[in-house]
């Protein structure tokens, strides 16, 4: 059986600059995998290429065995991969509930707004059920459902972004920099939530993180990226103990969050 996500030799370029230089990775159903590395290592570019925002210059991306290289983000969402973007990127002037509904709406797009609307309207009951489910998983969102998303705290916005991504019933949730700009306690809560989500709902996780300690705690496996290349990979327990990782990312033996 093919892995849920397979990336082979991916190369991403911005004009003359190479952001991702031939990276390969694999992720199976229900796994939790992390991509760690310093700023500018290409982690976000890799993620965005997987999710269809950029067309890679070379390489292949497969979801559930299907080749999706260079396809539009909508098609990739339909195949079960959604992203919680870096910096949350909530729809700030819209109420939280509208944000969530759009997560489901986006899935109906086959390139055309009007037909997507018709499909969405026909699936109204399923969408409502899904909304209830997301509110069950993230009760705070129900409380905030009428508040404009931009008027919520950082941690709440992260929940909105996660909830929005969950509305599309993904098999794989890609999270870009979960911890960015959030208080450690909040990050802890979100991390716990994601772990439960993975264990109870079977949603796989691909976590892009600068905070290596967090990444190792949450994910079983990790890839280390530097300057667009994968320099190390393996189970978190092993990586945590490696010289390279300890000195570069874990403060040489000291626990730095």
């Amino acid at each position: 059986m093919s892995a849920l996500l397979e990336v082979e030799g991916l190369v991403v370029r911005y004009g003359p600059a190479i952001a991702v230089d031939g990276v390969s990775l694999k992720l199976g159903a229900g796994e939790r995998v992390a991509l760690i590395g310093p700023n500018g290592a290409g982690k976000s570019s890799l993620l965005n290429a997987i999710c269809g925002l950029f067309k890679p210059a070379a390489g292949r991306v497969r979801v559930g065995g299907r080749n999706v290289t260079g396809r539009s983000p909508g098609e990739i969402v339909r195949l079960g991969v959604t992203q919680v973007p870096e910096g949350r990127q909530v729809f700030a002037t819209l109420p939280v509930e509208a944000n969530l509904l759009l997560g489901a709406f986006g899935r109906e797009f086959r390139g055309e707004l009007l037909t997507a609307t018709m499909r969405y309207v026909r699936r109204k009951t399923q969408v409502q059920e899904r909304l209830e489910r997301v509110y069950e998983l993230l009760p705070k969102l129900h409380e905030l459902r009428e508040r404009p998303a931009g008027q919520t705290s950082g941690g709440e916005q992260q929940m909105v972004a996660i909830g929005r991504a969950l509305m599309a019933e993904p098999r794989l949730l890609a999270v870009d920099e979960l911890s960015l700009g959030l208080a450690p306690l909040v990050v802890q809560g979100l991390s716990e939530f994601l772990r439960r989500l993975n264990e109870e709902e079977g949603v796989a996780l691909l976590l892009v993180e600068q905070n290596a300690a967090l990444a190792f705690e949450l994910c079983e496996r990790a890839y280390v990226l530097e300057a667009g290349r994968c320099v190390l990979e393996g189970p978190s327990s092993e990586l945590e103990r490696s010289e390279l990782v300890r000195t570069a990312y874990l403060g040489g033996g000291l626990e730095v969050a």
């Binding site: 999710c51 925002l53 539009s72 983000p73 909508g74 969402v77 339909r78 959604t82 992203q83 973007p85 990127q89 909530v90 729809f91 700030a92 002037t93 819209l94 509208a98 944000n99 509904l101 759009l102 997560g103 709406f105 986006g106 899935r107 109906e108 797009f109 390139g111 055309e112 707004l113 009007l114 997507a116 609307t117 969405y120 309207v121 931009g150 972004a161 929005r164 599309a168």
Partner: protein, 289 residues
Amino acid sequence: MTELVQLVVIGLSTGSAFALVGISFALIFRTTNIVNFAQGAFAVLGGQFTVWLVDKEWPTAAAAIVAVLLVTAVGALVGLLAVGIRGLTTPLASLVITLGVAFVIQALQLLAFGDRPHTYPAVSERAWTVQGVVVQPQYVLIAVVTLVATLLLTLVLRRTIIGYALVATSDSVRAAELVGLSLRSIAVVTFAVSALLSAIAGLLLTPIQPVNYDSDVAIAINGFAAAAFGGLVSIRLAFVGGLVLGVAQQLVVGYGDVITPQARQYELAAALVIMLVLIGWRSRKETVT
């Protein structure tokens, strides 16, 4: 005093039309980051098509509806062109493309309708007189329709899923893409809706100000100035801006003969001065592109 009120009344009415065009500008800009130069052309086409059908003995209402539908279709097509080729077309390039489109539409109008101004009869020739101020029903019609259209638009944007999609795209383009929304399709729909609104504005204005193939430029400038009130993004402020502009324009025309006997010719000066003042004021708060 009655003269002043008279000018204000007229100004509120023509200003309503500018407001609709300004709202159309703002809608497109906040959703796609494109300034649609052809907005004025949509308004003019609304008038031209209506006149064309009315001249064929169609009832005015039917003519208006069909005209609006035609222009909406044109708008969708223009949207497709303006969005251009992904990754290749910058917002400024889109502006130039819509500039080209506006003039292509001019050329086609010249071919189809000639270079004479066209108009059709207003909704009623019998004017009401309130306290010495003459109010033509057409003026009231423009104002009422504009108000209703603006309210409907706001409702759609805040209550329907399509509206959510449009607002989402202006809030965060990246998240909108990631969620699966097709930016190109949204752009086309936005252009179509804008064309619809502008066509309504244009056709309602035609009985008062006959349209010609080259009337689009002045309307586009006025609509843009109205939208500039809200930094090109706020629909509410574009509405207000249109009204202010309409009134200012009438005041210039009405009282401008203090400066020059030919004040009527300088209608556009109101728009330009307001734009310059607004921009000068705004640029003190923000700079950069």
